[in-house]
């Protein structure tokens, strides 16, 4: 899976989870997932991250979850890192 594939797929998961229309272009790497960004509550963020795990077949540990649940860019970086690590494990 390329970086662009991951980003597009992740955007779809986030937007589906948001439950309200948001043009995909408005979801930028610097967009905050909570507060004045997308406005997710802590419980929403947990269920978003579970949905991300299911989509990419990955797992976030507690601290990884906190680090990923900041901006869309942080989440994307965390997902890319996990997906690439899984791919490397499979290739080894």
């Amino acid at each position: 899976m390329t970086g662009v594939d991951i980003e597009n797929r992740l955007k779809r998961v986030v937007l589906d989870h948001l439950g309200r229309p948001l043009p995909i272009d408005e979801l930028r790497r610097e967009t905050s997932l909570y507060g004045r960004g997308l406005g997710f509550s802590s419980l929403d963020l947990v269920s978003l991250l579970v949905a991300v795990e299911e989509t990419f077949d990955i797992f976030f540990d507690g601290e990884e979850m906190s680090a990923a649940a900041q901006t869309f860019g942080a989440l994307l970086a965390a997902v890319e890192c996990k997906v690439n690590a899984s791919a490397a494990e499979r290739d080894a």
Binding site: G35, G37, S41, S47, V50, D57, G62, M65
Partner: protein, 486 residues
Amino acid sequence: MPEPSTLHRALILTAERSSDQPAIIDGSVTLGYNQLVNAVESAAGQLERAGLSAGANIGMLLPNSAEFAIWFFAITRLAAVAVPLSEALKTRELATHISHAGVSALVTNRALRETAVAALTDADQPSMPLLMAGQESLDHRCTARPPSADDPALALRSSGSTGVPKLVMRTHRNLLFETERLTEALAMGPGDRVLGVAPFSHVNGLMRSLVAAVLSGATLVTRAGFERSDVARVIRDQRISVFVGVPFMFAMLADARWPTPVDLSSLRLCLSASAPLKPAVSRRFHDRYGCHVLQLYGTTETGSIAVNLGAADALESVGRPLPGIDVRIVGESGEPLPPRTQGTIGILSPAAATGYQGSTEATGHAFRDGWFFPGDVGFIDDGGRLHLVGRTSLFINRGGFKVNPEEVESVLAEHPLVRDAAVTGVDTDAGDQRIRAYVVVDAPCDETALIAFCRERLADYKLPSTIEFRASLPRTVTGKLLRAQL
């Protein structure tokens, strides 16, 4: 041997029986039963020196911790009343709670001190005594008379079946009755390790984890918040045998995509309360960890009512009433209904409060002829098991917290551009609900800004996940909101 009649006496007797047992494990700190009793005496002495005495309502703004247990038993040792406050609440909500409960002193810790001071200022009580947990000194022993069985011990807020929050007072006798019946039914005692992760500021975590564990001689293992990896590690490392939680927690664990297998085989009993648990979640949890999650039914007003023990063939049920507690199903005129017939649930329990503090009308509505009617609808099956099929009240279940939609609506309505607002719950796969708000606005308004407006005024778990803009909301001619038509 006569049964203890107060929490304080019960703690002393448990400590005598279990002096070699750890009472509480909080991170790297282990507190034995004798150490717990000493810490309770010291904390009660500090309360006394601060001028507090029997009957005072004392707020507790503390996370799940050994400190919470120490100060809960200290407050009740003084024959004062513990008023647990949720750390999830925002300043204004805390201030409202403090004022409503008539709190005359507040116990907190260093991490929450700033929040506590802000709440007291907002409540117009900036000079209220503030006691800091973690600074108990063995120099201050409590000299006050011990409490009596009928002294009030615990004040929790409940919204009952209607929206307005009310104060529920329960006595030592009430709390001990519940604890004894529950721990007997669960066979909880020395040797058990009980996970204390459900918030102690709510009846579920407080009574079914903290008080049940400590007064049965088990070991309470506290966690300040739920994070699935952390909880899984604690269950494995501490050999947790009893886990009382909420559906959200069990769903998170049942469906976690662990990178390596997780061993939770020490669990002998998992109980879910506060909201309905989907049987499928219980089965998935069992398939992975070998233990079904069973349902317990209780209310803030009555404490624990019924528990489904060992009935994996009836996972949707909340089980049979605990000994000494009567449950009946009644029709619209109050007539008892036969088994398998749906109706309003009524509860007769020596563990129940007898009314709402200072609210005669609400008391008359929910407490009738010694029975309490929580606003739940259910039926009893041929095996005597209770099944819940809905609530006549309008609360939203959000990760185990009950959210009053009217509270969220009133905050939305404070926004200068919002003319009308309505809030409902939308079911999720995890077995709880998300909050959806519908608003009518006078001018174009940004959804994110509205959520941010709520965030400043409401606890995180009360925030709408989505906001839908409507031209109007369905209301009757008298203005009553028609939620079903949203």
